[in-house]
């Protein structure tokens, strides 16, 4: 068997296979279709080898007196099996390594460990939030016993402990795998969790005087294989098996962590990180993760509002009104304030709208805040890169504010922003001839708007964004916009059609297609070609 230099030969359940050097044995077995159950092992963390669930039999070729492997009659190396079972999570593959992943000894080990893990576990699955995505449940089905031999009292431990603002601990459910401890040490760099007490009384605890208050604390909930750590936010809100999972991205900062939106019947219940090793590994920050409640909040705009209207207007009326209102102004009396929170498709249509109106006064509102060196970017706009690429980020925001103040600018189209937070005053907005807002939340600007066009939140629409590192990624619709709200790109398209009379865009794919034809960075791409993990663009970010 010829072996490339960076590959090694490994025998898994009697079959010889090749793996790259440095592959973890547990991963190699998985790739060979022999899944090894595990609790403490996590591919992104160090391997403590403490749960003992991944025990397998291991052996090496027996060497003859000439230090060469002895061969059996079939010409295959004879294996010297190690009598003790070995953990597969802390071992890299090596030349000639042989493993048995399903031998009687291995099965017995797994059965034994499963029994040990369950004897002091409360078995409160009916009221446990982890139910449905619990490794203890899953591996019980596959490797556990049907009945219990345990006749003693279970160990009592603290329950319902708020160990941080967002994380709740049930120490009785904990199987002490130490994933959360290692995550806080190795990824969040906030070594705040640890074990106290000994033996069966061992308990996860927060350092005295501290809280698990890191902005990454909810990742411990994700990686907790059981229901010991649960999200205080998501707890008891929804059984996980009812959740529809939609692959999307987080829109709370420029990093664009890949996410799964968990929703049911037009409500988002949670966001969890989705693995993308070019962006967020398997983590995301608490801020981004929980930044979805506003979709269902009191401030949500759900109806069209025309100032002075006596009755509820319809979308065609609203669009027609907007078009005629804008047409009343000269081209340099109109400005467009777009947003770095808009998708590329929306930004592109906004720039087309600006072109149709003939105005060069367009910009986005920067949103900066403290970032960190893990995931959270100081640019809180998820798509500043897209705005730059599509010519919406011009740096003319203060000039526009100046124009409004001086009265030379008389009409504004504002997307997703509150202008009173970026240099415009209430009175200035009040005196505008037309203030058309496209957005999802009521704010001071929408209060003064002549026309409020309710739009869709990140979980309610499709589109693409470019993160701070130039990666083009796709967001997907998990739920429908509420009430009258529509997807932003449709609103902008309708405005554009009403103003120019042109047409040709029926679907968001068409927007991207047009955009890709005009913007060289998108050449050859389409929405579907972006894929679930995004595409790296060759951009230079200003």
């Amino acid at each position: 068997m010829s072996t490339p230099p960076d590959m090694v030969n490994v025998q898994i359940d009697g079959q010889w296979m090749q793996f790259p050097k440095g592959t973890r044995l547990i991963e190699a077995c998985g790739k060979a279709g022999k899944f090894i159950p595990r609790y403490c092992y996590h591919p992104k963390l160090s391997s403590p080898g403490n749960c003992r669930m991944c025990l397998i039999e291991m052996g090496m070729p027996r060497l003859g007196p000439d230090r060469k492997p002895e061969l059996d009659p079939d010409g295959k190396p004879v294996i010297n099996w190690i009598p003790r079972p070995q953990i597969s999570c802390a071992q890299d593959v090596s030349e000639g390594l042989a493993v048995r992943t399903d031998s009687p000894l291995v099965q017995e080990c797994r059965k034994g460990v499963m029994e040990f893990l369950l004897i002091n576990h409360p078995l409160d699955c009916p009221i446990c939030d982890q139910a449905g995505e619990c490794r203890l449940q899953e591996f019980s089905v596959e490797y556990g016993n049907g009945n219990s031999r345990f006749l003693e009292h279970k160990v009592k431990k603290p329950k319902n402990v708020q160990i941080g603002p967002r994380v709740t601990l049930d120490a009785e459910r904990c199987i002490l795998c130490s994933r959360c401890i290692r995550f806080m040490q190795e990824v969040a760099h906030d070594d705040v969790l640890g074990f106290v007490d000994r033996g069966s009384y061992s308990t996860i605890a927060v350092h005295p005087g501290r809280k698990l208050d890191s902005n990454y604390s909810l990742n411990t909930v994700d990686i907790c294989p059981v229901g010991a750590l649960t999200s205080s936010d998501f707890r008891f809100k929804m059984r996980v098996w009812f959740l529809k999972e939609t692959k999307s991205i987080c829109t709370s900062c420029g990093t664009g962590c890949n996410t799964i939106i968990g929703s049911r019947e037009n409500a988002v219940y949670r966001q969890t990180p989705r693995e993308n090793n070019d962006v967020n590994s398997v983590w995301m920050c608490d801020y981004g993760r929980l930044n979805f409640h506003y979709l269902h909040g009191d401030r949500r705009l759900t109806s069209l509002e025309l100032k002075g209207a006596q009755h509820q207007i319809s979308w065609p009326e609203a669009i027609a009104h907007a078009a005629s209102a804008l047409k009343k102004f000269k081209k340099d009396e109109i400005a467009i304030i777009a947003s770095g929170r808009m998708t590329n498709e929306e930004l592109w249509l906004a720039s087309k709208l600006a072109g149709a109106l003939g105005t060069s006064l367009r910009d986005i509102v920067p949103h900066e805040d403290e970032g960190d060196d893990i995931l959270l970017n100081c640019d809180r706009n998820p798509n500043t890169s897209g705005a730059q690429l599509l010519g919406l980020s011009t740096g003319r925001l203060s000039a526009i504010a100046e124009g409004v103040r001086a009265g030379t600018i008389k009409a504004l189209v504002v997307c997703c922003e509150d202008l009173t937070e970026c240099g415009f005053s209430d009175s200035e907005l009040q005196k505008l001839g037309a203030l058309i807002t496209i957005g999802i939340l009521a704010n001071t600007t929408t209060k003064h708007a002549t026309l409020v066009l309710p739009a869709a939140g990140f979980a309610e629409k499709r589109g693409s964004m470019i993160n701070v590192r130039g990666r083009l990624q796709r967001m997907n619709r998990a739920i429908n916009p509420p009430g009258d709200a529509r997807e932003d790109w449709e609103i902008l398209r309708d405005l554009l059609v009403a103003i120019t009379g042109s047409n040709g865009i029926h679907a968001i794919e068409d927007v991207f297609k047009q955009m890709a034809a005009e913007v060289p960075a998108f050449a050859g791409l389409s929405l579907s070609k972006i894929g679930e993990l995004g595409v790296q663009l060759n951009l230079t970010r200003k």
Partner: protein, 474 residues
């Protein structure tokens, strides 16, 4: 000087006192003066004239096996340290003597600390160690105080510190007190503890101390008695030392005898110099009046128990010189590493626990189980959950709540622990249960007569199994 070493309490004639030569001398103290007058640190003076490789070689020649419990060859362990090692090498003296039934290291530290220091300094010379630690268990505050004082005295006399005896070799010792945990005696747990963490034993591979030990540097961890022997190996020469004891079981060993014998205590004997029968009936004066031998735990509480009427098949040389099998009784067991391993137990830490016919084996096992359930570090699943489970079963049996399945479950739980844990604690807590339940099955079955509680009863409480008809006192 005309200092005459004080007379010592007379050891048993069969004893061969080398490491314990100064123990129990009248008027002897842990100070450096008597030690110096009695030839102390002369072996260090000899060692500084030797090449480090030659010292290591003498240790290899001596065949010295570790006295802490595992009986690993000391010379082989030292041989893992490469002479051209670039990282600092650390030596740690494991003075966390915690195995129930073992009490030798405490006497060495309390009465002859300089012997230990001399052995350690020689080891440091041999292994090019400039920083060594004595990890002493938290329950030995007096021992720690004595060691601190001894280290200060050794430093004053230039046996420690900068430029030892003018050789240009620098070496410093620190005493580190544990906080009271058995697992700190496991060498990688000890290292973690010394690094300031919880004493969770490390996984091997990759964390073999000689490769990735203290602060990820090569580290040698040796028991107190082992390190004392180093001094005597340098004194006698490795080959001469190897003549003591038996092949592959060389030197002397302190056996700590406790339990139901007339004269419990410590006895330094050539390894394999006596049989278990000689140890109990001759050296220790036999069983207490009117009592007969029931069981012996030969190597600290984790060693598998031996039953008095047990017969063992061992390999033995036949009269014609060929190897054959021979059946022996418990009295004929030679007290060395290999013989005890051959009969399915171990020499362990040298703690010999003798039990007479008045002992209840369920009680005895529960006592051991309580210890291991309390001392399990809790890091890995089988030991963490299994040790407490076994204790709860034996405790319930003792209180009269044993159900018929208990002996089988006990044995099976122990089987599910042994060999499946990160460190040897798994075996340590499983072996007693495996051996007690198997060898004294009738006693365990006798206390496990009740039927199983109905599995359907949600109100079930373990207490309902316990009835006051036969509580056990012992």
């Amino acid at each position: 000087m005309s200092y005459k070493p004080p007379a010592r309490r007379k050891p048993h004639p069969k004893e061969k006192r080398i490491v314990f030569q100064n123990i129990d001398r009248d008027g002897w103290s842990s100070d450096i003066e008597p030690y110096l007058i009695y030839g102390g640190y002369n072996d260090l003076r000899k060692a500084v004239t030797m090449k480090p490789a030659d010292i290591v070689n003498e240790v290899k020649l001596s065949g010295l096996r570790g006295r802490g419990g595992a009986g690993f060859l000391c010379g082989v362990k030292w041989g893992f340290i490469r002479p051209d090692e670039k990282k600092p090498v650390y030596l740690i003296c494991n003075a966390d003597e915690s195995e129930p039934g073992t009490f030798k290291d405490r006497y060495i530290i309390h009465q002859d600390p300089h012997q230990l220091l001399e052995g350690m300094i020689i080891a440091c010379l041999a292994l090019n160690v400039h920083l060594a630690y004595i990890y002493i268990r938290g329950e030995f505050p007096e021992g720690a105080r004595i060691l601190e004082k001894a280290i200060a005295q050794a430093r004053e006399n230039n046996f420690l510190g900068k430029n030892i005896l003018g050789t240009g070799f620098d070496c410093e010792f620190y005493v580190h007190r544990g906080a009271g945990a058995y697992i700190c005696g496991e060498e990688t747990g000890l290292i973690e503890s010394l690094e300031g963490k919880r004493a969770y034993p490390r996984i091997k591979p990759p964390y073999f101390p000689a490769v990735l030990g203290l602060y990820q540097c090569p580290t040698i961890v040796n028991n107190v008695e082992t390190l004392c022997n180093i001094k005597h190996i340098v004194h006698m020469g490795g080959a001469a030392y190897a003549k003591l004891g038996r092949p592959n079981n060389t030197g002397t060993r302190v056996l700590c005898v406790s339990g139901d014998v007339q004269r419990p205590g410590y006895y330094e004997l050539e390894v394999g110099g006596v049989t278990l029968g000689e140890l109990i009936y001759d050296i220790c004066g036999g069983m207490k009046p009117g009592r007969t031998l029931k069981a012996v735990i030969p190597g600290g509480s984790s060693a598998k128990v031996l039953r008095a009427d047990e017969r063992f098949k061992i390999k033995a040389k036949q009269p014609d010189g060929s190897m054959g099998e021979k059946e022996i009784g418990i009295d004929e067991i030679v007290m060395d590493f290999d013989s005890l391993t051959a009969i399915g137990s171990m020499a362990g830490s040298g703690g010999v626990i003798v039990m007479d016919d008045a002992r209840n084996m369920v009680w005895a096992l529960n006592n051991i189980n309580e210890f291991y359930a309390h001392e399990s570090c809790g890091q890995c699943t089988p030991c963490r959950e299994g040790s407490l489970w076994m204790k709860k079963i034996t405790a319930r049996m003792l209180e009269g709540g044993g159900v018929w399945r208990d002996p089988e479950v006990l044995k099976n739980v122990a089987d599910n622990i042994a060999g499946r844990t990160i460190c040897a604690f798994g075996e340590a807590c499983a072996w007693p249960t495996q051996s007690f339940v198997t060898k004294f099955r009738e006693e365990f079955v006798g206390r496990a007569a009740k039927p199983l509680p109905l599995p359907t009863s949600p109100e079930y409480m373990p207490e309902q199994l316990i009835t006051a008809e036969d509580p056990v006192a012992t």
